[in-house]
Symmetry: C2
Subunit: 356 residues, 2 copies
């Protein structure tokens, strides 16, 4: 198996966690006799500083020639005063759009070993296994018109969806649910928004092609509550772009830390892989960052771009083993118990490597 992976480490803790993820990919390649090659590229604040652009052409060209793109994180407080289209995040949104992946998969799993890390009671998080399917190329993120007019002191963003955009991401959700617990929960605000009415009608229509899968609709406000109250009730959760942004971060609470959450964006020319967490500039370079989100993201590369399901499972099992052995980065050390060992970013990466 040959795989060419563009590595865009980005800002803050991006490089540290990505380094651990590529280490794991190298290990998998060596163990299985695969040939993985890595091409590095600039993105985000680092790219602005070095080239003036959050997504240099060289990065995009390289990414489009690869089989997968592994991204660290982007964002740097230094650029807070800039308008959205000049910020590090613009690089992320541009590459998402250029690669064309519209279905962002974000698993939210409760690890037994981490049940003490969550602010939720263990009996609430027990056995939770949610897969968010977040539409990633539509809605307020990309809708036009969008402006902030400093003369009239007014600003506008546009939430826009077409039926086709909803159909394609809904299909991904139903396909995935078919191989899981056969349930899709679609999130919208159909009691207020026309866009949500289109969303709900379209998802309902797509559901007819998947008679074995149960479809339920939830309003986004209720859903924000249900995810905390009864997370075990959910299997695949299908959302538009911004609702998915909010709810999948919220679901990090189940796992105990955003630092544990991986994501994969599929459906486009090249799949894009990024941990859900941000660049966390405040802890960059301190060794406090949790690399498991990035490592689990590497597992998703194996699953969705290399078709190496067994290896993906092996990486996930290695993560589980290390957690069960009590190793904890700072973010998952809440309520530290006897038998737990605090470790750095690098140590955690090494431990997963050894467990593999």
């Amino acid at each position: 198996m040959r795989l060419k992976i563009a590595v865009l480490a980005g800002d803050g803790i991006g490089p540290e966690v990505t380094h651990q993820a590529t280490n794991i990919l190298r290990a998998v390649a060596e163990l299985g006799g695969h040939e993985f090659t890595f091409v590095e590229g600039l993105i985000g604040g680092t790219a602005i500083t070095e080239t003036g652009s959050p997504l240099p052409t060289a990065t995009l060209d390289a990414a489009l020639e690869c089989d997968a793109v592994l991204l660290g994180a982007v964002g740097d407080n230094k650029f807070n005063a800039l308008p959205p289209d000049k910020r590090p995040e613009a690089g992320l949104l541009q590459i998402r759009q250029a690669l064309g992946g519209f279905a962002n998969l974000r698993p939210s799993i409760a690890y037994t070993a981490l049940s003490e890390s969550s602010p939720l009671r263990p009996e609430v998080t027990k056995d939770v296994d949610i897969l968010f399917v977040r539409e990633l190329l539509g809605g307020l993120y990309f809708g036009a018109p969008r402006w902030w007019d400093r003369e009239s002191n007014e600003a506008i963003n546009t939430m826009r969806y077409t039926r086709d955009e909803v159909v394609r991401v809904a299909r991904v959700a139903f396909e995935l649910a078919s191989n899981r617990r056969q349930k899709v929960t679609s999130v919208d605000k159909a009691n207020v928004l026309e866009v949500s009415q289109l969303w709900r009608a379209t998802v309902t229509e797509v559901a007819k092609d998947y008679p074995a899968v149960t479809l339920e609709h939830q309003l986004v406000d209720s859903m924000a509550m249900h995810i905390m109250n009864i997370p075990r009730n959910f299997d695949v959760v299908l959302t538009e772009n911004l609702f998915g942004d909010i709810l999948s971060d919220e679901a990090g609470v189940i796992t105990g830390s955003l630092g544990m959450l991986p994501s994969a964006t599929i459906g486009g020319a090249v799949n894009l892989y990024e941990p859900v967490h941000g660049s966390a500039p405040d802890i960059a370079g301190t060794g406090k960052a949790n690399p498991l989100g990035a490592i689990l993201t590497a597992a998703m590369v194996l699953r969705h771009s290399a078709n190496l399901e067994q290896d993906a499972k092996a990486v996930e099992a290695a993560v589980n083993k290390v957690l069960n052995a009590g190793y904890r980065t700072a973010d998952i050390a809440r309520g530290q118990q006897p038998g737990q060992t605090p470790v750095s970013t690098q140590e955690m990466g090494k431990l997963v490597h050894q467990a593999l």
Copy 2:
């Protein structure tokens, strides 16, 4: 003290809980020698069924002549197929707009007696006392253009804010924080949305007039997480309309149930009071509804429309007393302990009345 209150009970559990709230207001009037009069009006699904409109002119006219409007809940699955502007919820949005209140205050308080009702650990919810200030007349709820074109199969909603709209609601937040713990957390998505950039810049400007109050900015996705992880860190949380809708429902998780949450909308011609919970048609008429959200909403009427702070506190204390005595409606009976007594909507109302 004289007060004329329009009572719009609405749909589902609306009438049952509102009935308990007006009972409490009557009791306060009697005890204090005040003259409260109540005028009933139709709204929501009930109004559609009886008059064809979710907000009949008669209701609006009556409401505008009152000193306060007490609303139950609106929404009925019967009308799910209708477009947003024909649904029960349209009546709610129309009356919000007509009354002109732009600052929706939603306290989220952790009651010690209910610490077992929350899916969050008691050490996380302990002493939490958050006041959401949700902008209620702008954003995606009211922004134009808005449409779902069934020919082109495309739909649009518009998130729109002007500087003035942000200034006025921000002032309310800072004023309230000045009398609380001197902290405002403003929520936006300024790394992506132009509207959020206007929001952030404006709030930052308003903050200059309140040097004693600390202002912090949070992205809505991070905030959805922080509210669960570190709810004690927040005092006043200022949000645009939809973010406030989502986050304040989520914060219901802290209290243990949405059924506990009151709200008041101030700043307009007539203040509007509504519990945060919905119409819950599935439990309507079963006696399972929790009337405490509506009763605590009545306390907010006393506070914000009658200037009877002592009486408002007395009602809140009565609620606390009843909870401490172990009485529980179904929604707050999670993890039932010995010493707890399950009660119906009506019994709960009576108990608060007696405790008063």
